[in-house]
Amino acid sequence: MSEVVFENVTKIYNGKTVVVPRINLRLPANQLTVFVGPSGCGKSTLLKLIAGLEDTTEGKITIGGRDVTFAPPAKRGIAMVFQSYALYPHMTVFENMAFALKIAKATKQEIRARVEDVAKILQLTQLLDRKPRQLSGGQRQRVAIGRALVRKPEVFLLDEPLSNLDASLRVEMRIEIAKIRQNLNATMVYVTHDQVEAMTLANNIVVLRAGIVEQMGPPLEIYHKPVNKFVAGFLGSPQMNFIEASVKSVDGNLAHFEGTGFLKPVTVKIQPGTLKAGEKATIGIRPEHLDVVEGHDGDFAFVASVQEQLGDHSLLYGSVGESRCTIKTDAARVLKVGEKFSLRIQSAEVHVFDAAERNVVAFENR
């Protein structure tokens, strides 16, 4: 059992800067949890707290039920892959991977056996005698992972491991990591700012902002059911469209919205009692859920300013009323900039955010 629990953990630097106000989090055992969020949101700090490279100011951290709050990193059953890989430059690949075991006073045979095992899994066997400077970026990455795997950790920490690689290598390594995850019997905690990595690798995503957990859940749940405007805007590229509106009327669960750029009122089922007529709200619709229709039969009037052709689809940037709006549509569609079009909502997936940016749409309907 290797569940990681944060209990009322606070982290304050230099007595002044509050990076983590107070967090309670349970990371499920043997799953890959991704911490994602903008820079400075505290995701790396949380990782370092699990590792023991940073001290909690207050609170308790347990791993597999053991209280590790005051334990040194080496005794927590964790292993870590650093953003810069941090391989020991003067040691060979073999020595890099053997270092921790040597410190733990394992026997020569044991060390050799374990290192060679892991080297085989990661296809590093040919490189065991090389030094880091003789390796490519992807190879160094694998050595860093190997160094962590050799320790058979309960919790495997990865700090933006792919951000130093170029695009094609990144995809390749992402698949490697996914494969490792399948064969590994450990909890993985992964920090990244790249939402594609988050979406594809995670069992669970934790979205963080200023040290606070905005939402936690499986990737698709967070994508389709964001609890607030921040989370909705964070996952998904291009970003979800936020269209300013006001409540025309509410009857029962149905709210009717109108606003500049609206061709006709938009009706959405919301949670009861959350909105009143006359209040301001924001409608959230993802670019792939809007399309251009002929005539004025649509929901919104759209003025296009830029079209980007990406080969398999195209993106239209423009505005609805005062709000910026992006649409994802077929590549075949070539539209004239400056022209006005009408947009129709093509899906039942519409979000509504109240003045406090909470998502008040009723989810049960989907």
């Binding site: 080496a74 941090a86 921790a100 160094r147």
Partner: protein, 276 residues
């Protein structure tokens, strides 16, 4: 940008002037050392005859060979002690957070500002009471006052430049501070140790006041003192030929050392002085 002819000429003129100014005294010392005593009284810019007697006489008239050995031993042991003690201190100052670290570093630097005279009498007493008067140990220990501070300062600067994540990886692997220092940092600090060692060696080799004050016999003097005190038959005559010969003997290896390790030394001097 191509240079105009005037600019080029001006540049070369400046280069020549500076080079001549820098190198002439040394040239003159070499020339003078190769003259026989009688021809010292004429100013010749190019020696007509090469006369080596000055060189042999310095070793005969005084224990110059022993002086050189003394300097070597004292400078080497100074470097050794400084590096060992300094590396340890530098690790603490560069990589471990503790209260008062900044103040401590400033204080250590401040020690290197002490005028040597200010500690002379106290140090004299100390050396005598430890029984180290007129010995290598006395000089090595007393030299710590001006070699240790900048050694620590320089090593701290170099150590700070090592990547933080490297240390973190070692800690996660279970390394104690000692293991991090010896197995991870030191192997990467070769050039830094050379630079620091060189600068310490040169400083120790050149030192005059303490060596003058803390030694008594001609056999225990170091080279600077020996040269400083070379005297002639009468108190009005200095045996310039011999003095120049001694100077050349001492200077040539030093100059070679400095030229070979130029880059190293320059990086050390500038790293210590320029704040990041």
């Amino acid at each position: 940008m191509r240079r105009s002819l005037v600019e080029s000429i001006g540049l070369w003129f400046a280069v020549i002037v500076v080079s001549v100014f820098s190198l002439f005294p040394f040239y003159w010392a070499v020339v003078s050392s190769l003259k026989e005593p009688s021809s010292m009284f004429q100013v010749e810019y190019w020696p007509k005859v090469l006369e080596w007697s000055n060189y042999s006489s310095i070793f005969k008239e005084q224990p110059f060979g022993t002086n050189i050995i003394n300097s070597l031993i004292v400078a080497s042991s100074t470097v050794l002690l400084c590096l060992i003690v300094g590396v340890l201190a530098a690790y603490s100052l560069a990589r471990v957070e503790f209260r008062g670290r900044g103040t401590l570093l400033a204080l250590i630097l401040a020690v290197s500002m002490f005028p040597q005279v200010a500690v002379l009498s106290g140090m004299f007493e100390l050396i005598k009471s430890m029984g180290l008067y007129n010995s290598w140990g006395g000089l090595t220990i007393s030299y710590m006052i001006f070699t240790l501070p900048f050694t620590i300062w320089l090593l701290t600067t170099f150590m700070r430049q090592l990547p933080r994540e490297l240390e973190q990886a070692a800690i996660v692997d279970g390394a104690s501070s000692w293991v991090v220092l010896t197995k991870v940092f030191l192997p990467l600090m070769g050039p830094s140790l050379v630079t620091t060692g060189l600068l310490a060696f040169i400083a120790a080799w050149n030192e005059f006041l303490f060596a003058l004050t803390f030694t008594l016999t001609a056999e225990s003097r170091t080279v600077p003192v020996a040269i400083g005190l070379i005297s002639g038959a009468s108190s009005f005559e200095s045996p310039w030929g011999r003095i120049m010969a001694a100077s050349v003997i001492v200077t040539v290896p030093l100059v070679i050392l400095v030229l070979v390790f130029q880059k190293s030394i320059v990086s050390g001097l500038t790293a210590g002085a320029i704040k990041e």
